[in-house]
């Protein structure tokens, strides 16, 4: 079975994992988003704010620093947790389709929406286990808050995904579409889902979920540097801390690109016709349309980050943990419920 075709596909998939939607893409675009977020927040406070590449400097500085393993920590979990968290996040990014481009075009699809919902749990659990392994009481408090945040965000996120599945299922007549590429294909044909009446509350709810899921400002009770000294990351220093900051940035990318795939799928898919209109054909056209789609995706992610994370960060103050929980389980869940009921009765 070691035919040359096998080797080329293996190389291709290795490229997918390491270069395009995988590690390198996440690394660059993730930290870029983080930089733009910090710059936007500063600009909104009339400050000049750090250079866009500041997260890169932070990451490489942390790589250079010494990693102190506290005596009370259990060493292997302490060192392994960040790596597993980042690996899981990068793998999630593989499943999110970039408009027409999908990593697993000719393979049976690996994961659908509910699976992605659960895959998002792994990075959260890895942070918690890492924090718990240090044994510091700050990490204990951070763990308790992080878990309540995950609990709070889970309910509305589930409802949003179910309502999208039902809405697309209604249109296609098959009742239910769980696969993400199915949703994007539908949007390619019928225009992005945000246009549907029933989908607007769901999109709004998803916008409110993104800062909560990534643990950004108003919902960062888990890593409140003023109250519990960076909570879970209290005892981390050096490279593991750098990897946690990197996975935080990549999570921003993953969630925004998930939002684009779910609700704005229709925007990028029209590019083929454009490229065809210019008259290019064959490989060049495919490459050009791919690059264009990636650019559109990154652009949309940047706009989304500005709206959902930076703006909310500049305008609000940090919520107490039980306010956060109540906010998510009443306001955001209400929105998601509206769209679920609307989708249910076939709007």
């Amino acid at each position: 079975m070691f035919t040359p075709a096998f080797f080329t596909t293996a190389l291709l998939y290795l490229g997918y994992i390491l270069i395009f939607p995988g590690f390198l893409f996440c690394f660059v675009v993730g930290l870029l988003l983080c930089g733009i977020d910090r710059k936007a927040v500063a600009r909104m406070q009339k400050r000049v704010g750090p250079p866009i590449l500041q997260p890169f400097y932070d990451f490489f500085k942390l790589c250079g620093k010494e990693t102190i393993v506290p005596a009370a920590a259990s060493r292997t979990t302490f060192m392994l947790a960040p790596l597993v968290g980042l690996a899981a996040l990068v793998v999630i990014q593989l499943f999110i389709p970039v408009f027409n481009f999908r990593v697993f075009r000719n393979l049976p699809e690996v994961a659908d929406m509910i699976v992605i919902l659960y895959l998002l749990l792994i990075p959260a659990v890895s942070v918690m286990l890492g924090g718990a392994a240090t044994g510091s009481p700050y990490a204990g408090i951070g763990l308790s808050r992080e878990m309540v945040t995950v609990l709070a965000v889970e309910l509305p996120l589930v409802m949003v995904l179910l309502s999208v599945a039902k809405a697309v299922g209604n249109e296609l007549g098959t009742g239910l579409v769980f696969s993400l590429s199915g949703v994007v294909d539908y949007q390619a044909a019928h225009g992005s889902l945000i246009g549907h009446v029933s989908m607007i509350p769901a999109a709004l709810a998803m916008l409110l979920i993104i800062p909560g899921e990534t643990g950004n400002h108003p919902f960062d009770a888990a890593e409140a540097e003023t109250e519990i000294c960076e909570g879970l990351l209290a005892e981390y220093s050096g490279a593991p801390l750098g990897i946690y900051k990197l996975s935080h940035a990549v999570k921003m990318l993953t969630l925004t690109s998930l939002f684009v795939a779910l609700f704005l799928g229709g925007i990028g898919t029209g590019v083929e016709h454009l490229v065809a209109a210019i008259g290019l054909t064959g490989g060049v056209a495919a490459a050009l349309s791919l690059i264009l789609q990636v650019l559109i995706l990154v652009l949309l992610c940047i706009v989304l980050t500005l709206v959902t994370i930076s703006f909310v960060h500049a305008v609000t103050a940090r919520l107490k943990i039980e306010q956060l929980f109540k906010y998510y389980w009443t306001v955001v869940t209400g929105l998601a419920l509206i769209s679920l009921v609307l989708a249910w009765y076939g709007f």
């Binding site: 936007a40 909104m44 406070q45 009339k46 400050r47 000049v48 305008v315 609000t316």
Partner: protein, 406 residues
């Protein structure tokens, strides 16, 4: 759920940031900003006023004798300076100046030291009369009655000889030590260059015999002093061979006393009432602690504490008094069993009482910030509470008899 800053957040996105880009654009400090100190050594007269008033005691000076004069280097340690500029205000000669330079970053200690050295010429010998102890009569220039004495224009004090009683208080008070007053020779000499014109002597003078710029000129009256007070005083007893009381309490010598009330002010126990107008001097027996302060401060040496042999002449009385043992009245059981060799101060920084000198005046107990001392005057006991005491040394400083070794 209101979000107050939504409008500002959006609008400030498009405005210029309100940051004035410090490292790129240099920024100037406020006009009278008190930044780095600049010292002009030539102006400094080493009056040490700045050292005295500096709260952070950041100013130190070192002086070393050289043949052509005293070479003094004064250093301002910016690391300990609070930039309150009190020294600048006090420096009469404007030798200290605060610039607007606020860049005081240092990686080494020395960068923060601002210092300047100057040479202080020895005081030029004015053609002063040869024998200092010359009889006082002719040394004092005769001042004809009726002449008008005006204050000097260069800010220095001038003496009104008629009023002056040569009580030497002004000399003691002068911060710069510019005045030398010899009571015996009735001479009042001012050292021009070390006087800073601070006016302390004028204030301290009980007789208002010193004029400062701004006082009104005084005309010298004709009558000599000492006439009116003689008869109001009760007639003193004949001069006995030994004067003074056994229990160390003060006795007043009516004819010397000028009722200047200094002894009353100085008495720690408040046992003396002196009425200047009625010319009365009353001692409150039981609250008096026989500490001898009144005797030491009395400008006229009109008070004698403890038994002393009658002085042959008024002048020498001052010297031999300290020689006589002040502890005569106290019965001496404690004295003899005191170990022969002199007491050493304790090494753990706590005070040690020298029973021979102590008069149990309880000042140290009163002064102790943490109340670690109990002194019982009746039972003549002095007890120190080891763990309360913080070794601050206030008791030793406040003891009038220097009976506490620290």
């Amino acid at each position: 759920m209101d979000f107050p800053f939504v409008k500002e957040a959006i609008s400030s996105l498009f405005q210029k940031s309100s940051c004035d880009m410090y490292p790129v654009k240099p920024s100037e400090a406020a006009p009278n900003y008190r930044g780095r100190i600049v010292f002009h050594p030539d102006k400094c007269i080493n009056c040490m006023m700045c050292e005295r008033v500096c709260s952070g005691n950041a100013i130190t000076h070192t002086s070393e004798q050289t043949p052509e004069g005293e070479r003094i280097t004064r250093t301002f340690y910016l690391g300990s300076c609070t930039f309150c500029a009190t020294c600048m205000d006090f420096c009469g000669h404007g030798a200290i100046e605060f610039t607007r330079d606020y860049h005081m970053i240092a990686t080494k200690e020395e960068d923060l030291m601002v210092s300047g050295t100057f040479l202080k010429k020895p005081p030029v010998k004015k053609p002063k009369p040869a024998a200092p102890a010359a009889p006082k009569a002719e040394a004092k220039p005769a001042v004809a009655a009726g002449t008008v004495i005006k204050p000097r224009d260069d800010g220095k004090p001038v003496q009104v000889p008629s009023k002056c009683v040569y009580c030497t208080i002004c000399a003691k008070k002068c911060p710069a030590g510019a005045l030398t007053v010899d009571r015996a020779a009735k001479t009042w000499t001012l050292d021009e260059d070390s006087c800073v014109g601070c006016g302390t002597c004028a204030e301290a003078c009980p007789k208002k015999a010193i004029l400062m710029p701004g006082d009104e000129p005084v005309t010298v009256e004709a009558a000599a002093p000492a006439a009116p007070k003689a008869e109001a005083k009760p007639a003193p007893a004949a001069a006995p061979a030994t004067i003074g009381r056994e229990d160390g309490k003060p006795v007043q010598d009516p004819d010397k006393c000028v009722y200047c009330t200094i002894c009353a002010k100085k008495c720690p126990a408040g046992a003396l009432e002196v009425d200047r107008a009625a010319k009365t001097w009353k001692l409150d027996e039981d609250s008096c602690v026989a500490c001898g302060t009144c005797e030491s401060v009395c400008p006229k040496k009109a008070i004698v504490c403890g038994v002393q042999d009658a002085p042959a002449a008024p002048a020498p009385k001052a010297e031999e008094k300290p020689a006589a043992p002040a502890a005569a009245p106290v019965e001496a059981p404690k004295a003899d069993e005191k170990p022969a060799e002199p007491l050493k101060p304790r090494d753990d920084g706590r005070p040690l009482q020298d029973p021979s000198k102590c008069v149990y005046c309880t000042i140290c107990a009163k002064k102790c910030p943490v109340g670690a001392l109990e002194v019982d005057r009746a039972a003549k006991t002095w007890k120190l509470d080891e763990d309360l005491c913080i070794g601050c040394g206030t008791c030793a400083a406040s003891c009038p008899k220097q009976a506490i070794l620290y």
